[in-house]
Amino acid sequence: MADATAIPGPRGLPRWAGWGLVLLPCAALWLWGAPAAPWAFDWPKGWTIPAARWITAFTRWLLNDATFGLFTFQELTRFVAGVIDAPYRIVLSLLSTGFLRGEGSTAVEITPPLSWVAVIVSFALLGLWAGGRGLALLVAACFLFIAVFGQWQSAMVTLASILVAVPLGVAGGMALGVLAWRHLWFSRAIRPVLDLMQTIPVFAYLVPILFLFGFGPTAAVVATLIYAMPPMTRVTELALHRVPPELSDLGRMVGCTRRQMLWRVMVPSAREALMVGVNQVIMLSLNMVIIASMIGAGGLGFDVLAALRRLDFGAGLEAGFAIVALAVALDRLSQAVAVRGRGAPLRGGPLARHPYLVASLVTIAAAAAIGFVIPWVQSYPQAWQLSTGTFWSRVVEWINVNFFDTLEAVKNFFLLNLLVPFKRFLAGLPWLGVAALLAFAGWRSGGWRLGLLIAALVTLIAATGQWEKAMITVYLCGISVAIAMLIGLPIGVLAANSDRLWSWVRVIIDTLQTLPSFVYLMPAVMLFRVGDFTAMIAIVAFAVAPAIRYTVLGLKGVDPRLIEAGRAMGCSEAQILTRIRLKLALPEILLGLNQTIMFALSMLVITALVGTRDLGQEVYIALTKADPGRGLVAGLAVAFIAIVADRLIHAGAQAARGRLGLGGSST
């Protein structure tokens, strides 16, 4: 948006007067308008835009008839699928199946897969190379955990798809990010596309993807890429813009070409920020594990689903924590690689120059050779596996039998006093009034363009007949986001003060972010029954992670000199917190709020599984009816809600930046 600062109110009137002028008619419409203008509350059926039908017709055309002359659209996508499939097969063979001749049950094994010992040692060596002994131990422990709990086979299948999806996501995201950094028009064009990629629930476009890319791991990788790539693009663009101008001037002075400038100057100096993007790609890819397993990717996600359908909480938890272990290992490795300075190159022959690589290869060869003689070296023996067995199921049973009534009372209190009234209130609002109010807020904080955009998006939600479900969505996500912020902010404030606490909190929020919510959703159903309350718990558990993360990020980034200055002026600790630190961290906290909303919206499809009646359920129904149009329309409505929230908060954050004198735009 061109104008970052707030538009002043009409001349001569105080700022709140404008709000009053808009609020009053909206309130009047809400209170007394229903008989006079029913169309402002329920969009008339006759006016509904048949977008679902159009989209369905379009996808049919794309799948069956679209052609570029020499080849059809579907042939193109199948070719892309083949390109992705090739590396995936190699990695999968290496880690899980071994190299085979032939297919299916008649296939003959040529070489076995890497032995578990070799995989663990290789990753530990990678850790040693990138971050030293502590990291090596952590990584080895993560993988050993997977082996000990009998998840090795599934984990390797999941790891294979992650190892293919992440580099593709990082490379693709970076390429788009560099383009967006170079060309302003591209940046403008791609931003809404990124928003849609991140906010339309995956289920909404799953059916077309399956047709285009074929059923199986490849389609899962494509779906993962669509979902996990956008943060990389955003971060790349942002990071390249943030490189200090002195550095790029220096590059120009020494006569760098455009390419040298990018790869030798800009990218290395933005490396730390870029790694945040890589981290997000890894985390989001692991988030997709459950959905990917539904379309033939198998692996840990499938184990989680199957275990919970048997109500075997222990097995679900074990598979779920194996995903977390993978996430932690991959994340810490990528972080370490990022901060690892380039030491002086080792001298000597190729053996001496690459001691870690050589050690790893030697281990792999030795383990393979010994594995032929001693089977436990090749594959982790079943006799050594641990399992929590029925322990977790019994824990849930114990809580259920002893505390259900208490929990039920708490739940009913929340439902009757908070959830239900808020839901009724939102359901009764006229779309016209909401559109006007939000558009006004957009105009005040970001100019007339933002106002128009918001008005159009809100009206479109109503015009496609999604208003009621959209309001239920807003109600569920709104309450969850509020609770997540109420929990996340204080924890973030505490964690920002103490590095020790922060390291523990980080483990917990990483776990919450990568542990498939299905794992705790089903025990929650046992204790709280199906319905909105259970859905709210799942959303809060997932969305609290960014609320904490960004609060800490913001508070830690506050210039210590300002805090010192505050102390010198005799501020109390409470004053320093509220007057200086929280105020200065406001832009980051608002970004955290933004991400909390995005995370909450992305949980909608999962919460559809416990019987909510919102847009997520609509997407889910469309999937089961194989109706791409219906799914995408509902998915787009989710995306519109996300975009409205994002733009308003973004504009608000910029205004805050402007007021605090932190410098202008963040984009």
């Binding site: 032939g102 297919e103 299916g104 049950s105 008649t106 799953l206 059916v207 399956l210 047709f211 074929g214 059923f215 199986g216 397993s293 539904m294 379309i295 033939g296 990717a297 198998g298 499938f302 689903l305 199957a306 919970l308 359908r309 048997r310 109500l311 049973e397 259920n400 039998v401 259900f404 039920e408 009913n412 439902l415 299905f518 959703l521 089903m522 025990p523 159903v525 046992m526 204790l527 029954r529 199906v530 319905g531 919460t607 559809a608 599984l609 416990v610 019987g611 909510t612 359920q617 889910y620 129904i621 999937l623 089961t624 009816k625 194989a626």
Partner: protein
Amino acid sequence: MSALALAAAGSAGAQDSADPIKLTLHDWTGQLITTQLMGKILQKAGNNVEYVQADYLAQFAGLETGDLDVAMEMWETTGREAMDAATATGKVENFGPTGMKAKEEWWYPEYMKEKCPGLPNWEALKDPACAEAFSTAETAPKGRYLGGPVTWGGFDDERVEALDLPFEVIHAGTDAALFAELESAYQRQAPIMLWIYAPHWAPAKYKGEWVEFPEYTPECYNDPAWGSNPDMAYDCGKPFGEIWKVGWAGVKDKWPGAYEAIKAFTIDNDEMGQMITEVDLNGKTVEEVTDAWIAANEGRWKPWIGQ
């Protein structure tokens, strides 16, 4: 049987393609057992078999393009719409019934009979005291009935209205949630009335009964005049449904021998119920259970593959 023998005579594994036949695996035990049985029989016939994990409904995208070949359990009661849409394209073929019948109905644990003595007759549910016994804070004084996911259909909202039952229908989002609620209530011996289907491990694990509604007939769903409520349809129980085998239409030409074997495959509810119980409650693996069935039933499956 003569049709079977004929089919078997015409099938010879030799002319089948050597490519693997891709059978889909879903996330419930019964389906895993059915699929593994079929896979093992096809392997005995010399076919090449591959198992692919796929979502129950999303798999049709793969079956239409031939990325996937055979789905062994498509329930009349839950998959009909998706199956019809797929077969209408001509790219998916119905390979006939599996022999198992899907039973779906309102179900309650046995201990609820004390509080509502008229059960399993549905008219007992009309008694307000009985309905209240099934209520929760949110639904009181009405009873609470936990229906299946919205996507399963089932016409429970209509049934409650047509039969004038003092119950409120709450929809679970997924069947895992359905059974989580049952497990929770059963542990506490608390009231619950919910949608249960068979073949499944739940009726084996929990003691209980299905409510006996007026028996389903097609007229009941189509003709309002039928049944106790002259103005509304759905005044009866849920239909029994076949469980179908479906697959890619190209299977017939690519693997003619396997095609006949798949069409011939049948198994019944009792056998399946026993195998599911063995796996889900007695801790055996699907592998062990299916091997045992293959060993014990040679006389049945050998004719399917012309041996």
